[in-house]
């Protein structure tokens, strides 16, 4: 079992550009959540996808959007990148809703210059 996998591992983008990050959940998991972790802070919830729909959203602007595919993999898209979007973006998967253990990927380190 490969666990949660994310790609790419590192990415450098220019302010104003758009970026797409990808996540494959752990085998058997159908729920994917995305988190943003700024340096020195804990992860902040962006949104969660279940059954190909966004189920809940954190306090992030509409520039942040996502998608879940029938195979449960997910993408995070960020438009009009700002310098402040530089962070580690984490994907977590879990086996459905409710209070269950969430498994995290290694993250994608996004640097906006």
């Amino acid at each position: 079992d490969a666990g949660v996998t994310q790609s790419p591992t590192h990415l450098i983008k220019t302010r104003g550009q758009q970026v797409t990050l990808r996540c494959s959940p752990k085998s058997g998991h159908d729920t994917v959540s995305w988190y943003q972790q700024a340096l020195g802070q804990g992860p902040q919830f962006i949104f969660q996808y279940y059954e190909e729909e966004e189920r809940q959203r954190g306090n992030f602007p509409d520039r942040f959007s996502g998608h879940q595919f029938p195979n449960y993999s997910s993408e995070l898209n960020v438009n009009a990148l700002l310098l402040g979007d530089s962070a580690l973006y984490l994907c977590a998967s879990s086996p459905g809703t409710g209070n269950t253990e969430a498994f995290f990927g290694q993250g994608t380190r996004l640097t906006v210059v």
Partner: protein, 113 residues
């Protein structure tokens, strides 16, 4: 790898000693709590969880204590090893908001030989 937290509270312990990492949570409605370990350059790794109907749960070398009266959570690591060096986060969730984890600020554990 890149440092997860540059200015986090730090706990320094000698190898073989026991470690206690504390966490205060703010939402009295939270009923599920998780401790994560995050090594430099990696995503958070699940350590142990506890539900609000319990006040203590033990794993391998780790124990989580929950005091709902004062909204306090602690992680005890027995016989701390150099491999335990990492940043530790507590996270909370509620049955009414099961879609996202709310993370604390984190504590850096440094283990000296």
């Amino acid at each position: 790898g890149e440092s997860v937290g540059l200015h986090l509270p730090t706990l320094s312990v000698q190898e073989g000693d026991n470690s206690i990492i504390n966490c205060a949570y703010s939402n009295s409605a939270s009923d599920y709590f998780i401790w994560y370990k995050q090594e430099s350059g990696k995503g958070p790794q699940f350590i142990i969880d506890i539900r609000s109907n319990m006040d203590k749960r033990q794993g391998q070398r780790v124990t989580v204590l929950l005091n709902k009266t004062v909204k306090h959570l602690s992680l005890q690591i027995a016989a701390t090893q150099p491999g335990d060096s990492a940043v530790y986060f507590c996270a909370e969730n509620t049955r009414f908001n099961t879609d996202k984890l709310i993370f604390g600020t984190g504590t850096r554990l440094q283990v000296f030989p």
